[in-house]
């Protein structure tokens, strides 16, 4: 549980972003305390995924500020600065995006070896430990094409954790999975959150968001319409738009 008054590890202030003439983010502000779990919900096209991509600098922002740990994300220009940021913030994608020509173990080992330049032997031990943690020690030599969607996603989570990030971003990580495998991925994330990892999740899993989140943000049309503790937001939404959205999916 986050401490009430601690300095947020992630802080966004008035973030604007547009693709051409289309304004995707229209002034988004929020903070995440260290060890906190924030879930972002909202209809497709509301800018949720873009928001995550802005936080780890994959997408540059138009105006506003984003701070992650000691990094001013909006002020990173060189590749070196961005690479330094990405050691702190790791991202897991909807489509897993594993490297198909590498085994599960190699997928986990690659970034620490080539980006952090760590000792391959030590990385290997850690990678096996991480695969064990996500329940896939037996699959370490399998290629992504030989794994189920849920297994691939858990490898992807292990791959991100291998960078020892401070913050994990999850972009609709269960959206491409069938209901049964969703559970195994959510269990992995739940365990991480309980261990105190700072997590920002874009998700459509409302029950999961309610159980795990310290705060839920409802976004629509590029702004945060409403935010609050999950119990408040799900049971007593204040805005009509939130109510309409929740009534559609709950």
């Amino acid at each position: 549980m986050p401490e009430a008054n601690s300095e947020p590890i992630v802080a966004l202030r008035d973030v604007h972003q547009s693709f051409g003439d289309v304004e995707v983010l229209k002034g988004v502000s929020f903070g995440v305390a260290k060890g906190g779990v924030v879930c972002i919900i909202g209809p497709s096209g509301s800018g949720k995924s873009t928001l995550l991509r802005c936080i780890n600098g994959l997408v540059p922002i138009k105006s506003g500020s984003i701070r992650v740990a000691d990094f001013e994300v909006h002020n990173l220009h060189t590749d070196q600065e961005k690479i330094a940021l990405r050691k702190e913030v790791s991202m897991v994608f909807q489509q897993y995006n594993l490297f198909p020509h590498k085994t599960a173990l190699e997928n986990v080992m690659m970034a620490p070896i080539y980006v952090l330049k760590e000792d391959p032997k030590e990385v290997r031990e850690r990678a096996i430990a991480l695969l064990t943690k996500v329940g896939l020690a037996a699959k370490q030599d399998a290629y992504p094409g030989e794994l189920s969607g849920g297994q691939q996603q858990r490898v992807a989570i292990a791959r991100s954790l291998a960078m020892r990030p401070e913050v994990m971003l999850f972009d609709e990580v269960t959206a491409a999975l069938d209901p049964e495998t969703v559970k195994e991925v959510l269990n992995t994330i739940r365990e991480l959150a309980r261990e105190g990892m700072t997590c920002i999740l874009v998700t459509h899993e409302m029950r999961f968001a309610r159980e795990l989140a310290d705060e839920v943000l409802f976004t629509d049309g590029g702004t945060i319409v409403e935010s609050g503790r999950p119990a408040e937001l799900f049971d007593h939404p204040r805005k009509d738009r939130t109510r309409a959205f929740l009534s559609q999916i709950l």
């Binding site: 994959l58 050691k87 970034a111 094409g145």
Partner: protein
């Protein structure tokens, strides 16, 4: 060995199938040197055209507009003109401008054939590798970036290995074509297999026989290339990726 040569001599005397390239020592050695010249042309051109392809595809993805434009026009020039015309252009056009001190050609016809054929096949290879690079999902590259890979590392470790696997079938086709196109070097008197064969059939008047020999030789040569490429394709195949 002499027994084999004698058998071919007997074959000629009894059936009229005149394979002088076996029983006549002079024809045997000039056909062998033609065969080796074809192999040499093929191997050198395959290697250099693949290098041109990789480098060209890499330049096409660069941020330098000038470099991209040059590669673009290079591809247009070599794809839109017949390879025979290109050979003539290099050998008679450029070659006549480049004279050595004594007045002789500075660059031999063999070298011109290698240059010309390599650029010809290289133009197609650039397009083949570029399409392979573009077929690597953008999201895979994004994942690499989000793990802190630099652009160069991501290209070297992830994009290129995948692009190469995607490109191989199309590359096979182009390299097979390249081996067959080496026969055009005949036109600038490069003593490769077709050229020496035509010399042999002029001397021995065994035209139909030599044409069959040529057909079989190219069939075997290209067959070996295809076999090697398929073995390689299988060796680097990754489960669940590609076809």
């Amino acid at each position: 060995m002499q027994l084999v040569w004698d058998w071919f001599r007997w074959l000629n005397e009894s059936t009229g199938i005149n394979l002088t390239i076996f029983y006549d020592q002079f024809d045997r050695s000039r056909f062998a040197s033609g065969f080796l010249m074809t192999v040499k042309l093929s191997v050198i051109c395959i290697v250099s055209s693949v290098v041109i392809g990789v480098v060209g595809a890499w330049i096409q993805g660069s941020r330098l507009r000038v470099a991209r434009t040059i590669v673009h026009w290079y591809i247009q020039a070599f794809r839109n003109t017949p390879p025979l015309v290109q050979l003539y252009f290099f050998y008679f056009g450029l070659g006549s401008l480049l004279k050595a001190a004594g007045g002789g050609p500075l660059i031999t016809n063999v070298t011109w054939a290698i240059v010309s054929l390599s650029f010809f096949a290289g133009a197609f290879n650039v397009e083949i590798f570029r399409s392979g690079i573009e077929a690597v999902p953008r999201t895979t590259l994004e994942a690499a970036e989000s793990l802190g890979f630099s652009r160069a590392q991501a290209y070297l470790r992830i994009v290129l290995p995948l692009a190469f696997r995607i490109s191989l079938p199309a590359l096979n086709n182009n390299l097979v074509n390249l081996v067959k196109t080496t026969t055009l070097a005949y036109a600038i008197a490069v003593p490769e297999m077709l050229y020496v064969s035509s010399q042999i059939w002029s001397d021995e008047l065994n035209v139909p026989v030599m044409m069959n020999v040529l057909l079989i030789c190219y069939f075997v040569l290209v067959g070996i290339l295809v076999y090697l490429m398929h073995r390689w394709e299988r060796a680097i195949r990754v489960p669940g990726f590609g076809i």
